[in-house]
Symmetry: C2
């Protein structure tokens, strides 16, 4: 049975409201009283009950983070940035893994809402319908998306310049002389990856002799990349360069290529996206598009916190981070 504010009040001979004021360092309480109360509180090992406080103030100082899977390196990095920013602001972060399952995602949203979180950070499973967006918006909680789902939606968004990244990858492969190119992307309607694909395809078709890439869709993880890699070899052995929409998928694909006796980059050039730490240490080191993962998490929380003051309805903010090509050794000019 923990010690409550009442205990402190009784023990220090003042009213609970005075204890509250003293401990919250507000004005209107004598310095002596404050010190005395503080001393008693310390002696008793008083620990304010934030649940009770939240009930009256209406703010839980808790944020929700809904990602598809924390084991995904990208999200781990985002989560760390988000947690650091939240911690600095005196907030906690509830972690949820949606597995890109719409039902699971909605259930988590419900749960977070019932816990009265001050805001939610999420990478949405898919392009949200107008109706879904409005439903979420109507829930009356600040939401920041980690991927652009609909152009100019009602929610704030923070993400990398995915389309620009796709373009960079395309221009790079073209510059190396590749003409038979494939793109391994994630599930359809995955906001970020869709944008990467769009930028990639568009850049490939914006040249004098346009090239149309082979598109392969799959799961955004190692195994998904592996399967897409095998599929590519089976159906399009003529391809000389592939752009994978994440480093993890790139690793999976490379594994499939190597198992099939292909050499990277000798027979096949591969470029990824994310620049996770391990991209630099696999063999061959992976050429990829860097995006600032930690900073994305940080920025998302900052926006969220700014909007969580639900005094005035903020207009949605859209923050886009620059990406850049990191040239390593998994691509080479076409012979």
């Amino acid at each position: 049975m923990p010690v409550t504010i009442k205990d402190v009040a009784r023990e220090s001979g003042v009213n609970v409201s005075t204890v509250s004021r003293a401990l919250n360092g507000e004005y209107g309480v004598h310095a002596d009283t404050r010190e005395m109360v503080a001393a008693v509180a310390r002696r008793l090992g008083y620990r304010p009950n934030r649940v009770a406080r939240g009930l009256v103030t209406g703010r839980s100082h808790t944020l929700g983070l809904v990602v598809s899977d924390i084991r995904n390196h990208f999200f781990a990095e985002v989560a760390r940035g988000a947690e650091d920013a939240a911690c600095r602001a005196g907030h906690d972060l509830i972690l949820c893994n949606s597995d890109l399952d719409p039902d699971k995602q909605m259930r988590y949203m419900q749960s977070l809402l019932e816990k009265r979180v001050d805001g939610i950070l999420m990478n949405s499973v898919s392009v949200l319908s107008r109706a879904q967006q409005e439903q979420l918006a109507a829930m009356g909680v600040a939401i920041v998306l980690l991927n652009r789902t609909a152009p100019r939606g009602v929610f704030s968004t923070v993400c990398a310049d995915n389309r620009g990244g796709g373009r960079l990858a395309a221009e790079y492969l073209l510059k190396l002389g590749h003409r038979r190119i494939a793109h391994l992307t994630g599930p359809r309607h995955h906001g970020n990856m869709t944008d990467r694909a769009r930028g990639f395809v568009r850049a490939l078709s914006a040249v004098p002799q346009p090239v149309e890439p082979v598109m392969i869709y799959g799961r955004n993880d190692f195994t998904g990349g592996y399967e897409m890699g095998r599929e590519l070899l089976a159906r399009h052995p003529e391809v000389t360069a592939v752009f994978a929409a994440s480093d993890t998928m790139a690793f999976g694909a490379i594994r499939a290529f190597i198992e099939a006796g292909r050499r990277i980059p000798g027979d096949l050039s591969v470029i990824g996206f994310d620049d996770i730490e391990l991209a630099a240490i696999v063999n061959p080191p992976l050429t990829t598009i860097y995006q600032p993962k930690y900073e994305i998490g940080e920025a998302a929380v900052e926006i969220l916190l700014r909007h969580a003051d639900r005094k005035k309805p903020h207009a949605p903010e859209h923050r886009v981070f620059d990406v850049r090509l990191v040239e390593r050794q998994s691509c080479k000019p076409r012979d």
Copy 2:
């Protein structure tokens, strides 16, 4: 202004307590009433306030997870297992990154306590002083440790058979004929890694011609491994085999070795610990000790939940998971 239980009561013409009972599916309420109330609740978009409920029931249905860094693959995997288990039981997980900093860790504990979490999962207690540990125990919240600290402490623990893993690594390297061996381990007093080191050293000395390994301490991340790798080359070039206490450190060390022109496993055999996904795909594929990360997170939450019923003080449980050697291609017999 969200709709409350009162609104539902008024709208459906019954008392709030009836609404509460109806919605919580308890006995003692007419089926018709229940349905009617449920219908009204749905129509009004009623969303129970778990904060309020928590205040009266004393249970927040929230767990705290304190790890050193979620970007560490091992912890991401543990976190996922924990989150899944928590979710199944209707609980949420608050994520905290301690960076192995005792102060930060204690601050997180305070914060979690003030949020009245039902239990806390944490690693890295070993960095805490004896006094701090006792302080934790006195806090009166269920705690499960992800590493063994003091033998037979007051807390429950869940971890892999770290000592056995160290032994496995030692026996393997000895079997390959290595005699000049180094161990790259984490920070001193890191519970799990200390145990790995102990098992390793002991097994090396338990043979007819005992070998005493070169010990190098460092940070448990890629850069830490890299630095230890360089230090090893500079100070002990005679070494032919290395046991790194985590795959991540092994990767860092390998990077240092390769930069220095050493070949793996040609010049230097390397064995890791954890068996993270990427261990299988780096080149050469990393021989390592597998430990069931996801299951550790799951088991920890299960124990926590069992103990969170603070009716009766449970005796601490200690669960140890088996490890096994995964032989890949980063080790070879000494010439």
